[in-house]
Structure formats: structure tokens, C-alpha cells
């Protein structure tokens, strides 16, 4: 796309160390929305009904749009001449920084809805806070994305309620989905060393302040869905530091195939 980025002069105001931290964090956000967006795109043409097929494709597209803004910013922060495409297509799995939740397979519709709801509840509330970041570029990206994330969270919340308080079959599937995916929810709000350092500067939201809002929304949705909130589950982490489940490799194999096979390919 031949559109020039917004004003980049602000970047030089950061000391190199902080700029590097910010690059890591923006990359993590970009990887996260790219991988989940890709997962949702896998549903295209396979949804349970046309309207929900379209919904998942739409949400995937929103996430992909957010991804591009983030990778473009990450490339500028890095300042090594890499482009958004290089960052998306030419890094290997251990260099990806997305949390484990978003790389989990689509499974059935209940699995996809559960994964989406757990992510949306974090994503939306995090973007609300990120809008106030002193980093103008991140704040602008969040301001744009939060409007879309509100639609996503509404959609996935309503589906949790429909499936949980639905038929015996839908409930049983949702229980199964929660039993396998809940363990990945804690990573979203478990800060890495990079996140801790940035939280200390106030550039990104403090997750401790975010949690009560996320928990309140989740409690409301689960109550409507007649679901108990899982307790005492060991939380899996590592994705944000490059330690992934086996699933990510398969995603990247498909996502990066064309650029790996025909380097520099454009159309």
C-alpha cells in the first residue's frame, strides 16, 4: 500500500532501550491479532450458518486491519528497514510473541466462541485503556480498534449465553471448550518482563487495574449463561515469550508459504 505513515518524528524522542521495549510490545500485539485473525479466516465458507460465517470473516478482517497498523508501527520502531510484510511473513514460530490462546485450533463452534470471548474480553478492555497511552501512535490505533472490538465482544458474549443456556448439546460442547481453553486465559493478563517495564512507564495499561473490569463482564456473561466460573486451574504461559504449542508452526506454514516459496512475491 503506497500510503505514507503518520508523522514519525515522535519516535526519536524515545531512548533506544525504551524504543526497543515498545517494539517488542507492539510486535506482540500485532502477532496476536494476526494469528487470531488467521484462525477466524479458516472458518470462511465453513460456518454453521451463513450469517455467522460472515461474522467470523468480518471479525477476522477487523483484526487483520489492526495487525497492519501495528506491524507498520513496529517496523518504524525497529528502524532496521524491515517492513510489515517482513515481520509477518519472515519470522519463525519461536520469534512470534502471541499468547497461546489465539493459536489454539478452531475446534467446533463452541471452541471458537470460547476462544473469542476470552480474547475479546481482554482485547476490548485493554484497548479502552490503551487509548489514553502517552504513546500517540498506540493511542490512535487503539482509538480506531476499540470501536470494532466492542462489536466483537458483544457478539461473542451473546454466543456464550446462547450456547451455555441453550440446549443440552450446546451446553455440553461449551463445557468441553471451557475445560480445554480456560487454562490459556491467564496468560493474557500475566505481564512479561517487557510488559512490566512498559507498565512502569505508564505507556501501556496496568493489568491489575484491568482485571476487575474483565472479571465483572465475565461474571455477568457466565451468570446469564448459567455457567460456573472455573476455579483453581493451572494457567499455561510462554507464548508471549516465544514458547508456543505445536499449533503455531502449522499456522505459519500455511500463512507464510507463498513468501517463503517465492521470496518478494507481489501481486
Amino acid at each position: 500500500m503506497q500510503v505514507a505513515p503518520s508523522d514519525t518524528s515522535a519516535l526519536n524522542a524515545y531512548p533506544p532501550e525504551l524504543r526497543q521495549l515498545l517494539f517488542q510490545y507492539v510486535l506482540q500485539l500485532a502477532d496476536t491479532s494476526l494469528i487470531l485473525g488467521h484462525r477466524l479466516s479458516e472458518w470462511c465458507g465453513h460456518g454453521p450458518v451463513l450469517e455467522q460465517d460472515l461474522a467470523m470473516a468480518n471479525i477476522g478482517l477487523d483484526l487483520l486491519g489492526e495487525t497492519r497498523s501495528l506491524y507498520q508501527y513496529a517496523a518504524e520502531l525497529e528502524g532496521q528497514g524491515r517492513t510489515e510484510d517482513d515481520l509477518a511473513f519472515l519470522r519463525i514460530a519461536t520469534q512470534y510473541r502471541n499468547p497461546l490462546l489465539v493459536e489454539q485450533p478452531n475446534g467446533d463452534f463452541a471452541d471458537t466462541i470460547t476462544r473469542q470471548f476470552l480474547f475479546d474480553n481482554f482485547h476490548y478492555h485493554c484497548l479502552v485503556q490503551l487509548r489514553a497511552s502517552a504513546d500517540e501512535r498506540l493511542a490512535a490505533i487503539a482509538e480506531k480498534a476499540v470501536k470494532e472490538a466492542a462489536y466483537h465482544l458483544k457478539w461473542s458474549s451473546e454466543w456464550i449465553i446462547r450456547l451455555g443456556d441453550g440446549t443440552e448439546e450446546s451446553r455440553q460442547r461449551l463445557d468441553k471448550a471451557l475445560a480445554s481453553l480456560w487454562r490459556y486465559s491467564g496468560e493474557l493478563t500475566t505481564p512479561t518482563a517487557t510488559e512490566k517495564a512498559l507498565q512502569a512507564t505508564g505507556l501501556i495499561p496496568d493489568y491489575a487495574a484491568l482485571l476487575p473490569k474483565m472479571e465483572a463482564h465475565l461474571a455477568h456473561v457466565f451468570e446469564e449463561a448459567t455457567l460456573p466460573v472455573p476455579q483453581g486451574v493451572f494457567m499455561m504461559t510462554g507464548g508471549k515469550e516465544g514458547r508456543h504449542t505445536e499449533h503455531l508452526g502449522y499456522i505459519l506454514a500455511e500463512l507464510q508459504y507463498m513468501q517463503r516459496t517465492y521470496p518478494g512475491l507481489t501481486w
Binding site: S6, L64, A140, A150, W155
Partner: protein, 168 residues
């Protein structure tokens, strides 16, 4: 062709001729995505803002702007992608809203954005059918044929139609 240095007024006139590739009855000015035009000598700078983050039309729109201005001899063009303030349907012109409805797409109903209230299973926005003008319509899905539209159906004439979502 050798053109005199362009004026801002002339650039705005040319931009009026650039249409939205998805909804070709709307110009990009009707949509409210052109935020500013600056002319300094022969250098022209146009700032545009995306409707939705992932809107695939933005690439085409940037190319169309370039081609339209190039046809007038404007070669020194920079297109800025401006994210903030974020686009809102409040910026859509009244002419644009009328053209949308005549085209068969219900225009945004102001003040009905999902906002940050997350009104679960709340009442659907009352949208007038663009064909028979009935107010008896219902939401089929928040997510329609493109990111900016929801899918509705009219309860009187039964016609399914697109609704350009309020985005504020």
C-alpha cells in the same frame, strides 16, 4: 500535459470525483474519509482516514486518488494515513446519506453506535427499509457484506437489505 500549480480548491473538486469502490454512488468526500488537503507549490498532501481498520477499499481509494490527480498533472502527491481522530459516520454528508438510501442501503441512524455499553441482547436499532420505507424491520446480523454494514430484513416487503452501521 503541463498544468499550472494546483489550488486546494481544485484538489477538493477532483477528490469529489473519486468514488468508494464498494458503494460507487458515494464519493470519498460524502463518506468523510478525506481529512485535509495541503498544497505547497507543486507538492500536494492528502490525509485520509480508514473507515474500519481492515477495510480493503482503502488501498483502492489511495490508488484512485493518485490516478485522478495524476490525470490533472499532479505528480508530487503524498497520501497520509491518519488514524486519529477515528472515523465516525457523523462525518458522512447528508447528500451521502440520501444517495445511500436511494441505492438501497439504509443510512446510519445517528446516536446508535454499540459504543462501550455492550448492551447484550439489547433492542435492535430501528432502521427504515430503504425500499418500501417501512419502519418494521429487524436485525439479522451485526456483520454484513462488508465491515461497515449490518444485515437487516424488512418485515413488510420482506426484502433483505444492508444497513450502514452507525460508528461513533
Amino acid at each position: 500535459m503541463v498544468a499550472a500549480a494546483p489550488t486546494e480548491e481544485r484538489v477538493w473538486q477532483l477528490l469529489e470525483e473519486v468514488l468508494d469502490p464498494e458503494v460507487p454512488v458515494l464519493s470519498i468526500l460524502d463518506l468523510g474519509i478525506v481529512r485535509s488537503v495541503r498544497v505547497e507549490g507543486e507538492q500536494v498532501t492528502v490525509s485520509i482516514t480508514p473507515t474500519y481498520s481492515g477495510c480493503p477499499a482503502m488501498n483502492t481509494i489511495a490508488t484512485d486518488i493518485r490516478l485522478r490527480l495524476l490525470a490533472e498533472g499532479i505528480t508530487r502527491l503524498t497520501i497520509h494515513n491518519q488514524l486519529s481522530p477515528a472515523w465516525t459516520t457523523d462525518w458522512m454528508s447528508q447528500a451521502g446519506r440520501d444517495k445511500l438510501e436511494a441505492y438501497g442501503i439504509a443510512p446510519p441512524v445517528d446516536g446508535t453506535a454499540t459504543g462501550h455499553m455492550l448492551n447484550l441482547f439489547g433492542k435492535d436499532t430501528a432502521v427504515r427499509c430503504p425500499l418500501c420505507k417501512s419502519a418494521h424491520t429487524h436485525l439479522v446480523s451485526q456483520f454484513g457484506s462488508t465491515a461497515c454494514k449490518a444485515h437487516y430484513q424488512c418485515d413488510d416487503c420482506q426484502e433483505p437489505f444492508d444497513y450502514f452501521k452507525c460508528h461513533a
